[in-house]
Amino acid sequence: MPGKLKVKIVAGRHLPVMDRASDLTDAFVEVKFGNTTFKTDVYLKSLNPQWNSEWFKFEVDDEDLQDEPLQITVLDHDTYSANDAIGKVYIDIDPLLYSEAATVISGWFPIYDTIHGIRGEINVVVKVDLFNDLNRFRQSSCGVKFFCTTSIPKCYRAVIIHGFVEELVVNEDPEYQWIDRIRTPRASNEARQRLISLMSGELQRKIGLKVLEMRGNAVVGYLQCFDLEGESGLVVRAIGTACTLDKLSSPAAFLPACNSPSKEMKEIPFNEDPNPNTHSSGPSTPLKNQTYSFSPSKSYSRQSSSSDTDLSLTPKTGMGSGSAGKEGGPFKALLRQQTQSALEQREFPFFTLTAFPPGFLVHVGGVVSARSVKLLDRIHNPDEPETRDAWWAEIRQEIKSHAKALGCHAVVGYSESTSICEEVCILSASGTAAVLNPRFLQDGTVEGCLEQRLEENLPAGCGFCHIPYDELNMPFPAHLTYCNNCRKQKVPDVLFTTIDLPVDATVIGKGCLIQARLCRLKKKAQAEANATAISNLLPFMEYEVHTQLMNKLKLKAMNALFGLRIQITVGENMLMGLASATGVYLAALPTPGGIQIAGKTPNDGSYEQHISHMQKKINDTIAKNKELYEINPPEISEEIIGSPIPEPRQRSRLLRSQSESSDEVTELDLSHGKKDAFVLEIDDTDAMEDVHSLLTDVPPPSGFYSCNTEIMPGINNWTSEIQMFTSVRVIRLSSLNLTNQALNKNFNDLCENLLKSLYFKLRSMIPCCLCHVNFTVSLPEDELIQVTVTAVAITFDKNQALQTTKTHAEKLLQRASTDNEELLQFPLELCSDSLPSHPFPPAKEHLESASSNSGIPAAQRATSVDYSSFADRCSSWIELIKLKAQTIRRGSIKTTVTVEKASPMGEGNFRNRSAPPCANSTVGVVKMTPLSFIPGAKITKYLGIINMFFIRETTSLREEGGVSGFLHAFIAEVFAMVRAHVAALGGNAVVSYIMKQCVFMENPNKNQAQCLINVSGDAVVFVRESELEVVSTPQPAASCQPSCTGGEVTT
């Protein structure tokens, strides 16, 4: 009996009138947890009842505490007939189960009914007394913290990042049970809400257990989704990254709650499981024979060498774009033999994080993705969700092999998604192949001899661009040049990633949102035929999406994409592809060449003219974009570029060489440094359309920027005003016999118009930036396309906008929860090693790259390699430390300069004049943002995860203002319920907020509509920097400075 849950019902307000005769309500409350129910007295004839109940006590297992939601039902007492339900409140008590989070849940909760929406509010107090449980075989995982944030949360420090955790649970969907035919829609909706709430709790508990097994104490980047598979069931699945986090000591004593004793700088003793792969029990089971699997684990990666050559492009399209379809890459054994990295032993070296502690990310290979089309089948035994597990295991395996093909041992920025239409389901996974610094991953002991193979003295911000794979054995044709920054390592010409821009990356100019949009018609078909058709279409879609992205990137004169998210949605008669990413110009990567249009019939005069006209337009656009995004890279003198570069070619293929012919390689090497244009061949009307559509994308109005990453590269002086919003649009396609082109145009217009609307609506915030713009496409019906956008608009100070990239990088460094204490442990380590650091060991790059790329048993080389790479690492660390020391100093100056803009909420001038009594609202402001931080503020405490699921249904659609009125009200209600829960936890903001699902169905003929929404985020307490300063100034500067700068300079 390890926990006692205590609940008190205080009062209600704004209740609806339930008794028409008296215009009043006789309300009482039922409090239910598990199978126990308590009732309050009936409070007669009031719309604002004061129950002020006793403490209802539930004695429960902590397993139940984790799984079950607290269920509060408000009813109207009726003497003669059945009591009428007014509405319900579900409270997830998970945040009360770990010590650092909330201690009490207390506040006003909206009373929600799935048919009527919010009907008044109820004031509830909830507490939990946990007894210590020493049972090691327990089924609960109380105490494991969950974060939606995809970076190390701000007031924590990562001691170890263990790795991937996943789990899924399945159940029958109550909506499809036989009983649904006889029960009311309300009962059915409530059964569904309750079931999903239960399943979420169970899932979280199971993931928590895995984390405990791995000796972690937290899950970061927790993403939970549910798949409504209709007849075949309901799947709730989650992925995340297990970590051991350490609370940072708070610099100021103003918040006793987060005032944990200051930690020493020594490494926390590592105590992880020697065999870390025990965690993934689910997918490690051998594949079972299951349902139809069409082209199982076939990679539809964006680009393959074959398709490139088919289209006679230059062989140097985007690198990094991906896995290139080489299954089980030939380099599998290469690095691995050298490294003892614990990563190797893991089943899936995946990380759901998108931003990392400095030094964590060594190299980035490129995007890897895998999709698979499956036919859904009824889940026969919910306790054995093997089929679904096996499906995902397959996909993950494929991702892993793609990463290996790119010479990478890990995948970061990893995410999974599904798209379901009838009985067909597309499973997708994507991530960024990367080489990581193992220091954070596992055993600190092995650390010393680990690879940092290509790492030089790591000039700030280019290391991650350097290719991780063997340039002679490239997994796909790419165009390599020497890094523009350090000039020592090779970089690709274009880099695509799914992660956020690394904090130390040097960026020129600003970034911008780049989208590729695509529709493909498909024949309506049943089951297997349908799945086959989809499978056949997928590679073409991937290819086209990729081409579009590449073209648009070139048009923006940029050379890298971050936060790439490609969504393929399946509908009855079409497939939609939507890729969003943030384009930037990375200083390390070569200047992108322009786009050159080549006509097919050169002898035709007018045609020729047309082509040249078009070419001119494109060139103009590129020039204009360069100006717009302030991309003026420093001119690189030809001598540097042309300087003889030692080619390690003599060392060529020592391993199994694969299909690439050597002449191709030669060609690549010869062409480095030249800015060849990207050739677009116009050979038919389709291609013409493509070019046109390229030019139709309108840049945002002046004063606006947009990106889908956490922050906008090139803007760093955020002010405190933020506005998170959700916008939904549904269009009905008019004609039945649509062509692909018309469809594309419709879709394109839909997205463009939506963006235009957003810019217009938010015009009062100019100058501002739309960050974390997240588009979701769904095809609810035959001719309907639904686009949902969630983003946050953040204002910034235009006057400081033109800061140098250098300070930008510094600021970024701090943004990423730089733990400065952690920095200090480098010098200690270095000293103890007593290794004199050679800043530039001669010729080491050859040695290093040579040896690391090959498994040659050349003994003499091996030793030197180890040495150099190690010295290398030391020196790079020193560089890093220097840089950060500066950062700290500058950062602290910055903080004092920061002027807090008057919060818009705080303006009470009007009120002062009018000064009516009771002007003070009891409703505290709760900010919501999809970002992991709040500009101009410091997050002082994480209160727990918010994960809520709501269903709303109406049988009076017209009366509620039609579909728009219905959904508008519902989304506003969802926001309200999230805010109320956060406020009750004692928080004042939700960070990393995400609307994971918004499933909308309508039946206008029956005057009905239904909508399901799933949202999540992290409830936090933040303190405005201005307030923080007042409090923290009396602190002795020396001790508090390093640890407080991290979060402070976010403005």
Partner: protein, 356 residues
């Protein structure tokens, strides 16, 4: 391609003041879009008409949802669905309860009943204010009336507390409620030259001096109903004109005090009897409801118009009325209990009426 659904929901509810005004003014979405286009917003922002349409729809939907809460402003403060900064909440409320001068002059003093509501069509045509807006304003008056009707305490305070209006607006509503309750006739042609402000000024003084609340602050309806006892007492003023001696004495007192101070002294002296009779008769008749309703008509007829025909300057009117009421105290038989009379019966109304 048609848009089935198009919504935008912000965590902080976006309020566009211009659109709010258009909505309050009762324009339909398409009219509002047309007006916005005419304002040149498209050129300023580079937006398209479609964007404007969608934006306007969104705002209208939001306002429609907010309207229910605006009917009980404290609810707006405590509700959780829309996160609106306090300053914006105040603006929403203030604007929602704001009214048009032209409209309020039409209904001031009328019974806020269904019958009057039916006349809104005519008022709309007459004033050029949309019917929708007329309805809103009428409903606001009625709602405020209903809420404060049977409440204790100061009328202005009650209104402010229950509708969170600014001081200025709350006073205006107090006047509207007071007029509606007493059904003062304000619509006669003779009174057309008077603004709502003039009436509100009178209302405030009457509330202060003529109502139950002026005597006892613990009764229901205290600021709404006139003090019957006081009105009864006013009858006794008849003696001022009925008793010849008293009239002459009163006249001589006033004339002595004002000699040389009044530009229209001779006219005053000649007219004193008439003016005094007019004022006293108006006061003495107030025991009849019908005559209460006609208070302003009577005052204009019996006092303002004679003064105006003799071209009295404003200051002279003020001096005369002050002296007129002050002198009464020196007369035998007038004890201080007629404190109301000091400020009430004569001076404010006519003075303000003349002022226009």
């Amino acid at each position: 391609m048609t848009s089935e659904l198009d919504i935008f929901v912000g965590n902080t509810t976006l309020i566009d003041e211009d659109v709010y005004r258009l909505w309050l003014d009762g324009y339909s979405v398409s009219d509002a879009v047309a007006l916005r286009v005419r304002s040149g917003i498209l050129e300023q922002t580079g937006a398209t008409a479609a964007v404007l349409q969608s934006d306007t729809m969104d705002h209208y939907r939001t306002f429609h949802m907010l309207e229910r809460l605006l009917h009980a402003p404290p609810k707006l403060l405590h509700q959780l669905i829309f996160q609106i900064p306090p300053s914006r909440q105040a603006l929403l409320i203030e604007r929602y309860y704001a009214f048009d001068e032209a409209f309020v002059r039409e209904v001031l003093g009328k019974k806020l009943s269904k019958g009057t509501k039916k006349d809104l069509d005519d008022i709309s045509t007459k004033t050029g204010i949309t019917l929708k807006s007329c309805r809103r304003q009428f409903d606001n008056f009625k709602r405020v009336f209903k809420v404060v009707e049977e409440m204790r305490g100061s009328l202005v305070d009650n209104i402010q507390q229950h509708f969170l209006l600014s001081d200025r607006l709350a006073r205006d509503y107090a006047a509207i409620v007071f007029f509606a309750n007493n059904r003062f006739e304000t619509g006669k042609k003779k009174l057309q030259y008077l603004s709502f402000g003039d009436f509100a000024f009178c209302a405030e003084l009457m509330i202060q001096n003529w109502t139950l609340g002026a005597v006892d602050s613990q009764v229901d309806d205290m600021d709404m109903d006139l003090d019957k006892e006081f009105l009864q007492d006013l009858k006794e003023l008849k003696v001022l004109v009925a008793d010849k001696d008293l009239l002459d004495l009163h006249k001589s007192l006033v004339c002595t005090a004002l000699r040389g101070k009044l530009g229209v002294f001779s006219e005053m002296e000649a007219n004193f009897k008439n003016l005094s009779r007019g004022l006293v008769n108006v006061a003495a008749k107030l025991t009849h409801n019908k005559d209460v309703r006609d208070l302003f008509v009577d005052l204009v007829e019996k006092f303002v118009e004679p003064c105006r025909s003799d071209h009295w300057p404003l200051n002279d009117v003020r001096l005369f009325l002050n002296q007129y009421s002050a002198s009464v105290h020196s007369l035998d038989g007038f004890r201080p209990r007629y404190r109301h009379l000091d400020q009430g019966s004569g001076s404010p109304g006519p003075l303000r009426l003349e002022f226009r």
